[in-house]
């Protein structure tokens, strides 16, 4: 799952945004021509994606979560979900799955208006989310196509053990690569894979520099709403490409420029007027009312300085980089380290670190109905973080792409009360204590 590049109606477009838009348009155009061009198409998921491997075999990836979230942003998801529910899917389950299935049932037209070809292979990188298994079982049934399954063990203690790494590497070597070679009729060129991993590494360095820029006051970036654009190329089809390296180079230059100009974070309405509250955010955003949601923060001067959602497709700011010297091992470590593959205690540790390192005034959990992987346990995360940091948290509930679960007035009220509480904490003469709880849940 990832936030990516549906940046079309953000008020101000930077060079990086234009670049990303072109990359995406070009990718979907290639997908539309894939059959005529004789290129193979593989559907896969954002967490644990093996883009360098796919690219090294000249495969075009399709990320169904990205299509779902973009359908949400384009106002199409409600119809697609209704379509899937009509076909027998329960109201209770993940709406990304239903949105994707609904899109398929409605002709599989992608976010740029072009048709997405059926998969030649489903690469089921089972990383951090059980629903992925079911999702691709459903697509396998629909497309009658082969599935290559990569079981990425969960990291309950946030540690990659040698057994875990070996399990993933062995599957890559013995099953995943042979399946990709079979589908493409090509032999994997290990030098090409290493070259792409080196490109990934460069882009990852720049992305981390962008994340870390948010330690400054004011933060030159919005690490959540803005962050979902920044992760676009990295989390989708472009890691390990020259385009991604160029994108992150230009993004970093833009952020450096903002720092030089002492500009605050970008918002849908231009640079933020004043950075009043610095927040860490846990959980994915809502896509159907993305800009309304964003403005609930930006208009109050609240700046997300770090978020965990922007780490679901790879956690780089704890030091991991793809390593051309150890290609398969580093692909394994990458998959294992994705945010939703971390045990709850490690997630709390990471959030605590973000709150402290980014000098946050508060943190907010957006608990989405769709996602058990993210959501189960978040109420304990809330308590534990308040206990450890003394920083108050807010808890709201919505959904990813099902507009029925975005209660705008309710969410806005909660966020407003939360900001009032943060405001009161800034003034010691007012009643609120400076430490301890006080969450808005």
């Amino acid at each position: 799952m990832s936030g990516a590049a549906a940046a079309s109606n953000v008020a101000q477009k930077d060079d990086s945004q234009r670049r990303q838009k072109e990359m995406i348009a070009d990718h979907f155009a290639k997908l539309e021509r894939a059959k005529e061009d004789g290129r193979k198409v593989v559907y896969t998921f954002v967490p644990g994606n093996l883009t360098e491997l796919l690219r090294a075999l000249d495969i075009l990836p399709v990320l169904p979560e990205i299509n779902a979230l973009q359908s949400g942003m384009r106002g199409k998801s409600a119809g697609y979900i209704a379509e899937a529910e009509k076909a027998g899917h329960s109201e209770d389950v993940c709406t990304y799955v239903k949105c994707d299935l609904g899109m398929m049932l409605s002709g599989n037209v992608g976010p740029t208006g072009t048709k997405i070809p059926p998969p030649d292979l489903l690469l089921l990188s089972y990383t951090g989310c059980f629903t992925f298994l079911k999702w691709f079982e459903l697509l396998k049934e629909a497309y009658k196509c082969e599935v290559a399954m990569l079981h990425v063990p969960y990291m309950p203690d946030g540690v990659v053990t040698p057994d875990m790494r070996r399990y993933v590497v062995d599957q890559l070597r013995d099953q995943i690569i042979p399946a990709l070679e079979r589908v493409t009729g090509k032999k994997l060129d290990l030098d090409e894979l290493a070259r792409r991993l080196a490109l990934s590494r460069q882009a990852e360095d720049d992305l981390v520099a962008v994340w870390e820029s948010a330690r400054r006051r004011p933060s030159p970036i919005d690490g959540y709403f803005g962050g979902v654009y920044y992760i676009g190329p990295m989390f989708t089809a472009f890691r390990g490409t020259e385009e991604a390296v160029a994108y992150y180079r230009s993004l970093k230059a833009e952020v450096d420029e903002r720092i030089a100009q002492k500009l605050g974070a970008q918002t849908p309405d231009g640079p933020i007027a004043q950075e009043k509250y610095r927040l860490v955010i846990e959980g994915p955003p809502n896509w159907t009312s993305f800009y309304d949601f964003w403005r609930m923060f930006s208009r109050e001067g609240a700046v997300p300085v770090a978020s965990t959602y922007t780490r679901v497709g790879g956690l780089y700011d704890t030091g991991f980089r793809h390593d051309p010297e150890h290609p398969l091992e580093s692909l394994a470590d990458y998959c294992l380290g994705c945010y939703t593959n971390l045990g709850l205690p490690s997630r709390v540790d990471l959030l605590e670190r973000y709150i402290k390192d980014y000098s946050a005034d508060g943190f907010l959990i957006n608990s989405v109905k769709s996602c058990n992987s993210f959501s189960a346990g978040q109420l304990l995360i809330l308590r534990e973080l308040e206990k450890r940091t003394g920083v108050p948290g807010a808890f709201i509930e919505s959904d990813l792409v099902d507009p029925r679960y975005f209660g705008k007035a309710n969410i806005e009220n909660r966020i407003q009360s939360y900001f009032q509480m943060l405001e009161a904490r800034k003034e010691p003469t007012r009643a609120q204590p400076q430490s301890g709880s006080g969450s808005v849940a």
Binding site: H89, D92, E137, M149, Y154, P156, D170, A376, G377
Partner: protein, 395 residues
């Protein structure tokens, strides 16, 4: 038939009282009789019980609080759109009801149980808690080896807490005992298929589930006693519709709900309740030169039941359910999934399509473990059984 006249009544009542006892008195008794030995709880669906028995531990299934626990604190740990079993499990843990357990295993059933494992570690850092990653890659050299390592790790961690070291002979013995239990469960299941009036599903359910908190030897004795009693049982046969229940492999429906289905004219001739003890569908064979741990691991890969929480690899979705229906000579299927159970509910449309192609009628409803109102379900099941009887059902 009065209870006095029913030779099976007392053993069924004993099993039911074990199932309904949320204080885990049987576990406390076992611990008293085995000084220093560890009782290890586990969440559904499956852990390989022989591993724990072999190292002198008592594996104890924890199925939440069912319909007999007031949720006071548990709800403040889970959002309303998450199934019920984790909140009642947290309730039990916070209220001290799980105190007889020296630790908990959280198998990789779904993301909720997975995350519950993390919550356990945060809430009870001094108690043992482990995630058990069951392999979704079903190739022995890959998933099998990884899984065997997982089992060795858990055995080592428990040894550090006082369990016996893992020993091949003890594991062989525990596997043999598990096979004996499995054979008795098979006998019960066969009886339900051939003479469903002789042993109701709700009775078989408690008899099997009781074994999830007992050492295998005691469960074997209980099942033996029940089977012997059933040979003397005299019950009138009813003209019920033969159905298979599927989807309730984790959170368990209340006993009252199972009985409601029975009263609505259904003979439940097969189900996936208590799948944990039926997960391995064949006896676990251990060759003379085979490492029993490897045999235990590979049994899961090769003979693991097709269920929503397990990747089916090359198998065809729905085939296993259709085979179950045919083997039980069932006339229809009732999908019975816990509300908000992603694995079961995401599986269901695929299974429904398979049943439709095979012209097997089905109906579906959702439940929570603490569902108290059965009227709607009774009506729905009644209408379903009538339609199957009259028209062969309309899938």
């Amino acid at each position: 038939m009065t209870n006095q006249a029913d030779p099976a009544a007392s053993v069924i009542a004993r099993a039911q009282s074990i199932v309904e006892d949320l204080t885990f008195a049987e576990v406390t008794r076992w611990k008293r009789e085995h000084t220093g030995a560890l009782a290890v709880g586990y969440m559904p669906v499956y852990v390989p019980r022989p591993l724990f028995e072999a190292i002198g531990c008592l594996p104890v299934a924890v199925f939440g609080g069912g319909d007999r626990t007031d949720i006071i604190r548990g709800d403040s740990y889970f959002q309303s759109y998450i199934c019920h079993i984790p909140r009642s499990t947290i309730e039990l843990a916070l209220s001290g009801a799980l105190a007889p357990l020296d630790g908990m295993i959280f198998p990789s059933t779904c993301d909720v149980i997975r995350n519950l494992g993390g919550m356990w570690k945060m809430l009870f850092p001094e108690r043992y808690g482990a995630y058990l990653d069951l392999p979704q890659n079903l190739t022995p050299a890959l998933g099998g080896r990884f899984y065997a390592e997982e089992l060795r790790r858990i055995a080592r961690e428990l040894e550090a807490r006082g369990a016996r070291p893992l020993d091949a002979a003890a594991l062989r013995e525990a596997i043999a005992a598990e096979n004996a239990r499995r054979a008795l469960i098979d006998e019960l299941d066969e009886l339900r298929r051939s003479k469903p009036w002789l042993l109701r599903a709700s009775e078989a359910y408690v008899a099997v589930r009781a074994g999830t908190v007992l050492p295998v030897s005691e469960h074997v004795a209980l099942l033996g006693e029940l089977l012997a009693a059933l040979t003397r049982r005299e019950v009138r046969a009813y003209d019920n519709v033969r159905v298979v229940i599927t989807g309730a492999f984790c959170e368990q429906p209340p006993l009252g709900l199972i009985r409601t289905l029975e009263k609505s004219g259904c003979d439940i001739v097969d189900d996936d309740l208590q799948l944990g003890l039926r997960m391995i569908e064949q006896p676990i064979t251990v060759g003379a030169d085979t490492d029993p741990l490897v045999a235990l691991a590979e049994a899961f890969l090769k003979n693991g039941a097709a269920t929503a929480c397990r990747y089916i690899d090359k198998a065809v979705k729905g085939d296993a359910l259709i085979a179950k229906v045919r083997a039980a000579n069932a006339e229809g299927v009732i999908f019975t999934a816990a509300s908000f159970c992603d694995p079961a509910l995401l599986d269901q449309p695929m299974l429904e399509r398979a049943l439709t192609s095979a012209k097997i009628p089905f109906t579906s409803f959702k439940f929570a473990e603490n569902t108290g109102q059965y009227q709607t379900i009774r009506e729905q099941a009644g209408a379903f059984s009538d339609s199957v009887k009259l028209w062969g059902g309309t899938p």
